[in-house]
Symmetry: C2
Subunit: 226 residues, 2 copies
DNA sequence: TCATGTCCTAATGTTGACATTCGACATTGA
DNA sequence: TCAATGTCGAATGTCAACATTAGGACATGA
């Protein structure tokens, strides 16, 4: 009894859809860190069966957003300073590879797309929008670099930390993001310049330092409360 | 279907067990690259339900051993030269981070364990065992380094390539492994030495080169047949 | 002969019911 | 009073049946 065949364009399965919805709920704070994600509850709330919810939660575990223990359910990950260190150390290594690979493989179109994103960031800053838009642009910028790297496995590894980084930064923005705002545009613009240049070693180093600067400013804003 | 309540000591759920069995079957060549893994078939063969098989296949997909498309089932990954490049590029980045992190965090016990593994490799070479034992030691060696790095996310990322590397090397060994045999011990011994030393930059570089040497010798042995 | 459209089949996607496990509370005994 | 133990509830783990889909065989037409 399919009443509305139109929204069927998704074609991705209910598990993916459930994962998207739950992820969004985590980002909006509906499920705070450490909260239990009960399968029956979610199934009823989302209008799908427990099996699909279960599979969706498995996808979110791949992204590092939730953690599940045998017969003890799944909970939203708790953010400790140790977690931040781990994620950003891994991200630095991935970004380094992504940048150097993209330097070799990126097309002209992909590079101009990066320019566009940097310009959008600059415009966002002159306005007074909430930091979330800026953050979305930041993530999108790095998404493009990973795409340009042309390495499916690398993109997979990036997905495993991407959501966590988004979550960390969301929390940080809630506490004020002047520091972030001050540096984003310049740092990203420099990355594009280096991508266009021919100096592999400098690019690799700067890509790592870019992540490290993000890590430091995140820890500085979060440490007292954790 | 509870015939034997004794081996119930696993306590890891049927999905994990199913994943282990299927992984083993892939390694032994029972499921060649590109083979379809039908859920009903596996469920019947393993004596568990389709749901558990399904979950187990999802675990194997996390490891990059299988690939599944919506409503088209899951197949064993096919090994192309592109795949080798991707996996080894990613592994080089991960190994670099693992080595430098382990240099800071490794305990004396962990380092002596690495010594033991290198000695075991040397002994294995003087004997005439099949290369699989040597390969297992090789993987175990790097497992220890990742453990010593003390970064759960990094270990997760390593798991996502570990099985693929094992699969690649297995195939390579089948075609003769004199080249591999000649270098393994020396290269790993050097890594341990560098881990004990204080030179971060050299260690990082050598860790990357260690992977690159493995990549080259793998491609050299495999290229004609792929 | 080729293109096209319709079935049909074999597989996966999805679901609700059943079995198992964990944590907490109450109970019992010293 | 306290510790060990039994019971209970709620949640997850597992299962087998139902719905949906992709891909091919077949027939039809130009």
């Amino acid at each position: 009894m399919t009443v509305a065949p139109l929204p069927k364009a998704s074609r991705r399965g209910l598990a993916q859809e459930a994962a998207d919805l739950i992820r969004e709920a985590i980002f909006t704070g509906h499920f705070p860190p450490g909260a239990q994600l009960r399968e029956v509850e979610l199934a009823a709330s989302l209008g799908v069966s427990r099996g699909s919810v279960r599979e969706g939660l498995a996808l979110l575990e791949r992204e590092g957003l939730v953690h599940s223990v045998w017969h003890r359910g799944t909970t939203v990950v708790d953010v400790t300073a140790q977690d931040v260190e781990e994620v950003y150390a891994l991200r630095a290594a991935l970004d380094r590879l992504a940048a150097t690979s993209a330097q070799r493989n990126a097309t002209a179109d992909q590079l101009t797309e990066l320019d566009t994103l940097v310009r959008a960031m600059a415009q966002e800053i002159s306005g007074d929008a909430s930091g979330t838009t800026l953050l979305a642009l930041d993530i999108a910028f790095h998404d493009r670099i990973y795409d340009a790297a042309n390495n499916r496995r690398l993109v997979e590894a990036w997905r495993a930390v991407r959501s966590q980084i988004y979550l960390f930064q969301l929390r940080r923005i809630a506490l004020g993001y002047e520091h972030y705002r001050a540096r984003v545009v310049d740092e990203h613009r420099e990355l594009v310049t280096l991508l266009r240049a021919d100096d592999r070693e400098t690019l690799a180093r700067r890509a790592e330092e870019h992540v490290d600067s993000a890590r430091c400013s995140l820890l500085a804003g979060l440490s007292p409360s954790m």
